[in-house]
């Protein structure tokens, strides 16, 4: 099993969710986060003082799927979340050791 973790622009969440639903992904977790990448943030002025807004609001989306689905999930998120402008985010794939559905106690692929 693989955990696909994507940091995306907040307004892209619905598009990403729809794209994943179309793939048959059954569940997803979204968290509000702040972050920056290579290009850092931007400078703003508040009451006459300049400040660098390094941490911009993002959304982190996490899905756990079968190994075989990982590539298509990454592709789907990539297509849905991309705008071509800086700050689009990143997608990571991580190995998952085990999984369990709390309600029923099912483990492994049945838990997904």
């Amino acid at each position: 099993m693989k955990l696909v973790m994507a940091v995306i622009k907040p307004f892209k969440l619905d598009e990403v969710r729809e794209a994943l639903t179309e793939l048959g992904v059954q569940g997803l977790t979204a968290t509000e986060v702040k972050g920056y990448g290579r290009q850092k943030g931007q400078t703003e002025i508040y009451r006459g003082a300049e400040y660098a807004v390094s941490f911009l609001p993002k959304v982190k989306v996490e899905v756990v799927i079968d190994d075989g689905q990982a590539d298509s999930v990454v592709e789907a998120i990539y297509k849905a979340a991309k705008t071509g402008r800086i700050g689009d985010g990143k997608i990571f794939v991580v190995d998952v050791a085990s999984a369990m559905r709390i309600r029923t106690g099912e483990t492994g692929a049945e838990a997904l």
């Binding site: 703003e44 002025i45 508040y46 009451r47 006459g48 003082a49 300049e50 400040y51």
Partner: protein
């Protein structure tokens, strides 16, 4: 120029009449009706000014961080309550009763007059009893109430500036001294009929007497307290600390604007004649126009200076406009009040970053909006309102020196006894957690991520 000489005489006459319990100089209605309207004006206007306490609370809680929001709310409701109690216990007498040149009487409690008690207690009210009461032009308590909400306003100016790092109880002790002693004494020099008013100092609703007083006390407090941790960097760098809730700050500003109609309008001190009613309408109009001028000027200034309009500066612009017109809202050419307010708006946008240059950390811009605009508003009376510019300057300086000296003494005594500054750890954690043990927004942010 824009103030007719007879109006000056009649205005001062009406003010003195209202203050010194002589028959109203402008009564064109029956005395008892005039009494009812005058009393009503004080009560209703006072209630509007009380509502400004809510405005300050909202404005301040919108401009501090989430972790300090509950504390600022508590400070606002506490200082309003303390101001009221102290002004009843000592303050009003010190400001208005048997005023010599420099202060009133040191006596305690301020209750209904003997004439009023006789009328209220009588089984059968006689004409003589009514006349004795009505002779004062307004109910004794109504004037207390109206004046009380002004001292509360002065105190609430201080709370915004020193927010996010001042300890709660030492701050409230300062409020006790400010409302019981400092404000009443300088108030006795002016509205109480003391030496400044005898010189001809003119401050209709308190640009100096209320707003600058609050502003000076805030300034000395900010200097003696020091800036928030992390606000200023080692190379003259200024680090913005954005507020938590801009809609609340906006709502607070609108509430203050509304309350100001009572603040300035009620300061006509009478509603018992056609002339009074007309003046009050003029005052309302000027008050609104000055605020509007302040907003537009601040918006244009920030657009030009920073290429973007800063909402918080626009809000400060409204306040600065209101403070600027407060000394002389009886201009009969309303265009002048737009200009007076606009200049206030320009001044506040310049003053805010300037204070930062001096490393004076004013969380909400209160010093800029109340002290700087207050000084301007008082001077404006000498420029636009037909007052004596020299006397205005004397008043500004005298009251400024008095408040700076007395408030500094109090701040320093508090600093070296109780201590006024929250510990570094408490400041990091947030005063809500450190001093109050609760969160303003427990469902949002870090709060919701804890069990």
């Amino acid at each position: 120029m824009f103030r007719v000489t007879t109006k000056t005489a009649v205005g001062i006459g009406a003010a003195c009449a209202a203050l010194l319990a002589a028959p109203p100089a402008m009564a064109a209605v029956e005395a008892e009706t005039g009494y009812v309207f005058n009393t009503f004006s004080f009560l209703f206007s006072g209630a509007l000014v009380m509502w400004m306490a809510a405005g300050f609370a909202m404005l301040e809680s919108g401009l501090v961080r989430t972790k300090n929001t509950a504390t600022i709310c508590l400070k606002n409701i506490a200082l309003y309550s303390i101001a009221g109690i102290l002004y009843y216990l000592i303050g009003y007498n010190l400001m208005y009763v048997d005023v010599g040149g420099f202060m009133g009487s040191i006596s305690f409690l301020y209750n209904p007059s003997d004439a009023e008690m006789a009328l209220l207690g009588a089984d059968e009210a006689t004409d003589a009893m009514v006349a004795a009461v009505v002779d004062n032009s307004y109910s004794v308590a109504s004037d207390w109430f109206f004046q009380m909400v002004f001292v509360a306003t002065a105190a609430s100016i201080v709370s915004g500036t020193v927010a996010e790092r001042i300890k709660l109880w030492p701050f409230l002790v300062f409020v006790v001294v400010l409302t019981a002693i400092i404000y009443p004494i300088q108030g006795s020099w002016t509205w109480g009929g003391g030496w400044l008013s005898e010189m001809g100092f003119s401050d209709f609703a308190g640009s100096t007497i209320v707003h600058s007083v609050g502003g000076w006390a805030a300034l000395t407090g900010a200097i003696i307290l020091g800036a928030r941790k992390g606000k200023y960097g080692p190379d003259g760098q200024v680090n913005p600390i954005p507020g938590a809730n801009l809609p609340l700050a906006t709502l607070g500003t609108f509430v203050l604007w509304l309350g100001w109609f009572g603040f300035n309008g009620g300061s006509q001190l009478a509603l018992g004649s056609a002339a009074d009613a007309t003046w009050m309408a003029i005052v309302f109009t000027n008050t609104n126009l000055a605020a509007a001028g302040g907003v537009v000027a601040a918006m244009l200034m920030t657009q030009i200076m920073y290429k973007k309009v800063d909402l918080t500066m626009a809000l400060n612009g409204a306040i600065a406009g209101l403070v600027s017109i407060t000394a002389g809202p009886d201009l009969t050419n309303h265009l002048m009040s737009i200009i007076v307010g606009a200049i206030g708006g320009v001044l506040v946008v310049i003053a805010i970053p300037m204070l930062d240059k001096f490393k004076i950390d004013d969380v909400v811009g209160a010093i800029s909006a109340h002290l700087v605009a207050g000084i301007w508003g008082t001077l404006a009376v000498g420029i636009f309102g037909g007052g004596d510019l020299m006397v205005q300057i004397i008043g500004i300086v005298a009251i400024g020196v008095f408040v700076v000296v007395t408030s500094s003494i109090v701040w320093l005594i508090l600093k070296y006894t109780m201590g006024i500054r929250a510990s570094e750890e408490d400041e990091d954690l947030g005063l809500d957690s450190a001093e109050l043990g609760l969160e303003a927004y427990p469902e949002f942010g870090r709060g919701s991520q804890r069990a």
